[in-house]
Symmetry: C2
């Protein structure tokens, strides 16, 4: 029996090819968010050394190991005393302390002592020490378990670890923690003569990925060739892949068909400006977000789509992480019905919001002049002047 | 002539030694801030590769190098046309385009063309392309210099570089930038039996230093021996030194006298709770901040003193970087006259602020339960319930 003649290559998965034709329809941003929330999963928990846990999300509640302090001890430097011995002491009536023992903060409390008087409340009198202030029992003392009792809760599951949490956990004896590790994010950048030169967007996208809790696995060229492109999407090692460029309607816009070939292109064309040629799909089980190559479109598609995917892959809240400012529009912000519009705006000296560029205006120069952006929903024709809106601050 | 007998060692610089005696007075926080603002200088500018510039401060204004785009070009994929040829075109009246040239975004505009119609506004009709919408001259075209004109301003001096700025500067041809480099911050941690175990504060302090724009040069033990301690303060390689521990009134609290010996101890004892045993000085021209070893005192002294020094050494605004929330106290916050008090507080479900711990309560467990802190000035006995105050959010 001989091998059958090679079969025709399998038909590419069905997808709407926009090259040379244009977008016949675009998905809503809500549909894109549903896709991200459904397809991008938080990472599996694993233990990491405490030093690497800052900003990561705790996968399990963490409790205290033993009482802290482990025994009654001095909370301050000074003299350990029996509080009763200081009764009546004042600067007019110094009271000699026969049994006083010099201690430093952290020393166990000597027998028969129940307080520590700080040096400020004592004075030397020849070979003796005199109290110049009375103290109550327990003053200057930390009781066993005062900070935390054995097994008591320290931090809840889901906590994004703050700097001070690292100090607390170190003091509680933890050296490694079960956390959601930062997702490995690959950035693919198209080169070539297209407008906006997406190959120059690597530093911008890497900084944004880090802001959102991702680890940049690699910043590599997006190949122009269809097969090499499909390979780049299926190369293992990344939890999430972002590409910039080659998403449009030109004959060289190979990213969407390559993703369709490598795995699946689920959405291509989002009803948003800028960034409307973005696409979403997966290859080899890894979610892939295709961002436009025009720099402002790439920024908008990162902020509204990719950033959400990175945060979700890091186990962080999906919402935009920007500080918000409520302010009143100084001028009308015009918007297109059926399309979410991202308006770059400036906070004027009078505290009102001035448009810095219309949603369709390309390039990052206007974003640099802007203080942030305002989103006008697809169901709105815009907002007139004098209306309070939310600005998301660029930072 | 013989050498004179060795002279007595020079007297140590005058400083108030609090060991075994206590603080006779403490400096105001304002005096400490004045010291920081006067003694900690922003770094000298130097060029760094663009990839390393995110979050750093631009030392000089940066302008555009050449016009961008360098020539009139297509802003969209589609057909380059003479706009006049599309006059009257609609879906009911398709107009054949004889001179149409397929272009992709970024292509130079072919001769005799002044517009690009997107594929959505065209349709194939046998060998021809037909316009189904009229376009105006300049539509779909980016004019030379539209984003930025040669020499025009891009970003001002003093700008803290945002992710999108890196994209803008890359597109403008910049590969390195004159920035204020991150200061190298050395962290020295006391060990030993003292309360709070400052040797466990390295991860917390390193995370805080990074938050404020510093580079952690080293996290090393604070020697117990006076000479070794003075050496640690004078070892070159750091722009700023923070130590934690050994600042109090016990016999082993060698950090202040060692700094006095190594260079100068300008302030020791700040009228603040917690953190009141902090000290400020310099050795070999490098500012040195002595933080207490008790973890909550170290956190407070970092937030109110060291963080300001790190930000200033990075050329960043000195003010606290925390997000703020205005909220009303649910209960009285008691404070000591003459001492700035840091109250850890929680935002209750009703939006009011509950105290989480009094300023004197040690340990980081209460800070972990808190959402942030409220500062009550030295001139205040506290605030009653129902008063609006500013909470600085822990993050």
């Amino acid at each position: 029996m001989t091998a059958p003649p090679s079969a025709a290559p399998p038909a590419a998965p069905a997808f709407h090819d926009v090259r040379g034709r244009g977008f016949s329809r675009r998905s809503t941003l809500d549909a894109a968010w549903d896709w991200i929330d459904g397809r991008v999963v938080p990472p599996s928990a694993r233990p990491l050394p405490l030093a690497d846990c800052g900003g990561l999300v705790l996968a399990e509640a963490v409790g205290a190991v033993g009482d802290w302090p482990p025994s009654d001890r001095a909370a301050t430097d000074g003299y350990a005393v029996a509080a009763a011995d200081t009764l009546g002491a004042s600067s007019y009536n110094p009271v000699p302390l026969m049994g006083a023992v010099a201690v430093v903060a952290g020393d166990p409390l000597p027998p028969d002592c129940d307080a520590v008087i700080p040096y400020e409340a004592a004075q030397a009198a020849g070979p003796f020490v005199e109290a110049v202030d009375a103290v109550a029992p327990g003053s200057g003392v930390e009781r066993r378990g005062a900070w935390m009792a054995d097994g008591g809760p320290l931090l809840p599951a889901g906590r994004r670890l703050r700097p001070a949490d690292l100090g607390l956990l170190a003091a509680a004896g933890h050296r490694a923690l079960p956390v959601l590790p930062a997702p490995r994010v690959r950035i693919l950048l198209a080169g070539g003569p297209k407008a906006g030169a997406p190959e120059q967007l690597g530093d911008m996208l890497a900084a944004l990925v880090r802001r959102d809790g991702g680890n940049v696995e690699a910043v590599v060229p997006l190949p122009a060739d269809m097969d090499a492109l499909a390979d780049a999407f299926t190369q293992p090692g990344a939890d999430l892949i972002l590409s910039a460029g080659r998403t449009g309607t030109g004959p060289d816009d190979a990213a969407p068909p390559a993703l369709a070939k490598a795995g699946g292109l689920d959405l291509h064309g989002i009803a948003m400006r800028p960034g409307g040629s973005a696409g979403l799909g997966a290859a080899g089980g890894t979610p892939v977000l295709l961002l436009p190559g025009e720099p402002m479109a790439a920024l908008a598609a990162y902020e509204l789509l990719a950033g959400r995917a990175v945060r979700r892959a890091a186990g962080l809240p999906a919402a935009l992480p920007h500080a918000t400012v409520q302010a009143v529009t100084a001028r009308k912000l015009v918007s297109e019905i059926g399309c979410l519009d991202l308006h770059r705006v400036r906070l004027a000296d009078d505290g009102r919001l001035e448009p810095a560029a219309s949603p369709g205006w390309p390039g990052l120069a206007a974003a640099a002049r802007a203080d942030g952006f305002v989103l006008i929903g697809a169901d709105s024709e815009g907002v007139p002047d004098g209306v309070a809106v939310t600005m998301y601050r660029f930072a």
